[in-house]
Symmetry: C2
Subunit: 258 residues, 2 copies
Amino acid sequence: MSKSTEPDIGASQTRRSTTAEQIKQLILLSGLHPGDAIPTEPELCQRLGVSRSSVREAIRTLATLDIVDVRHGHGTTVGKMSLTPLVETLVFRGVLAPGDDLAALREVVEMRSAFDLALTDRVVDAHQGKDSQSLACLVEKMRQNASRGQTFLAEDRQFHAELLAPIGNQLAGQLVTAFWDIHTAVLPRLGLALPVDLRKTAHAHGDILDAAQSGDRDAYRLAVIDHYEPLIRMLEAKTRKTAPADPMPSAAGPDADG
Amino acid sequence: MSKSTEPDIGASQTRRSTTAEQIKQLILLSGLHPGDAIPTEPELCQRLGVSRSSVREAIRTLATLDIVDVRHGHGTTVGKMSLTPLVETLVFRGVLAPGDDLAALREVVEMRSAFDLALTDRVVDAHQGKDSQSLACLVEKMRQNASRGQTFLAEDRQFHAELLAPIGNQLAGQLVTAFWDIHTAVLPRLGLALPVDLRKTAHAHGDILDAAQSGDRDAYRLAVIDHYEPLIRMLEAKTRKTAPADPMPSAAGPDADG
DNA sequence: CTTCATTTGTTCGTATGTATC
DNA sequence: CGATACATACGAACAAATGAA
């Protein structure tokens, strides 16, 4: 028979998963908040009665989800629970199946557009009548870089973050930046050059800001659509090349961008 | 200065993270797809020149992100890259800070509403003129359960999934179900009973389906708003209780559910 | 600046549970 | 049923990073 002294795994769960759950419960029951310290690995081994390997794998799981934050030589603290795991997962999904088509990236861009459109009322309400100096400065930097033929990824990202910041929903802002990260991480790895007009993109951001501050919701929606239009058109064109059954009527767009 | 013979970890990265990256690259370069087998742990140790533990922790990281799928005693395969990590992270965030307020849950519900509203055109276009038997069946089940005072979580979840299925954007559907999971996982763990009217909720689902199939976008939006209205109202009321400056008028709701 | 204790990172060896054939 | 291959778990030891004395 089996030795009765051996530890019972429990209910067919792995030790690692149960340990991870115990650590989460410990965080909750201790009332810890993001940034607070978590017991050290040896201490967790004692309190939970498991080996260090299991504790480490459990902590690894939680660290991947940004539930805890591990720093070598320092210790482990409660994490900020950001949307980093979402970004990592979807970036990998986006670069995994480019052989088939650009569906994954197209879906990400579509969701970005849908987000911004859905949050129109919130954004306009938050910016109406106000005048953000940092947002205006970001737009100006984008325009300058565009005129010099330089990209402006950092300013672009910060613009969308600051635009969403004052709407009273942190999750919305984090989702928007997360999908921005996915989008900009996947796009260059697919090996296709950006045919988008930098100046047009920079200008679109200015239009978005102006519309929000002037309280014009319809103008805001149009500016958002303009902002994504060249990208979506490019993705549609690339996707169509994969299955060129459609004759592609010439009435699609007047110009081919430049 | 430093000995050139020592193994360079890279750019101050940990062995585990570089190993995880190498495994991801191996998946990409091998052209593996979800479901395909990944080399066993000992084989990865050989090919990457690292110890078993590092391989295990790297695999643990990837498994947490659903990039790989590990089955005890069988092997490791490429995962489906679902949104499970997002759900886990946000569920924990939702139950972590209920002492302050219900802000996290409120934001989740707001995002659910924003999602559904943002996808109005896509959903209506996909269902207009059609007649889904399974969706109608789900609504009928919800109504029956509601009339018996029983909940209908499974039907509710499947309804939203099937409603979003034919819009040609898998990511949108996965996001909606992910936030449904977050919402329904966090709500009961906050220790507050559901004062929502089951019959009203069941009816709202029917309205959503009818509006989509009849092609009435405005009716669809109104039905979506109706669908979330009792929940949002409850969350607002609970949030207000934290700062009980409001006398809480008795005209809040006609009934207290049954 | 150096020394030292603390904490996480990495490795190895061994034993056990589990799935497939 | 047994045999094989695999993932899971444990424990001990050493390496590397951090921070304080």
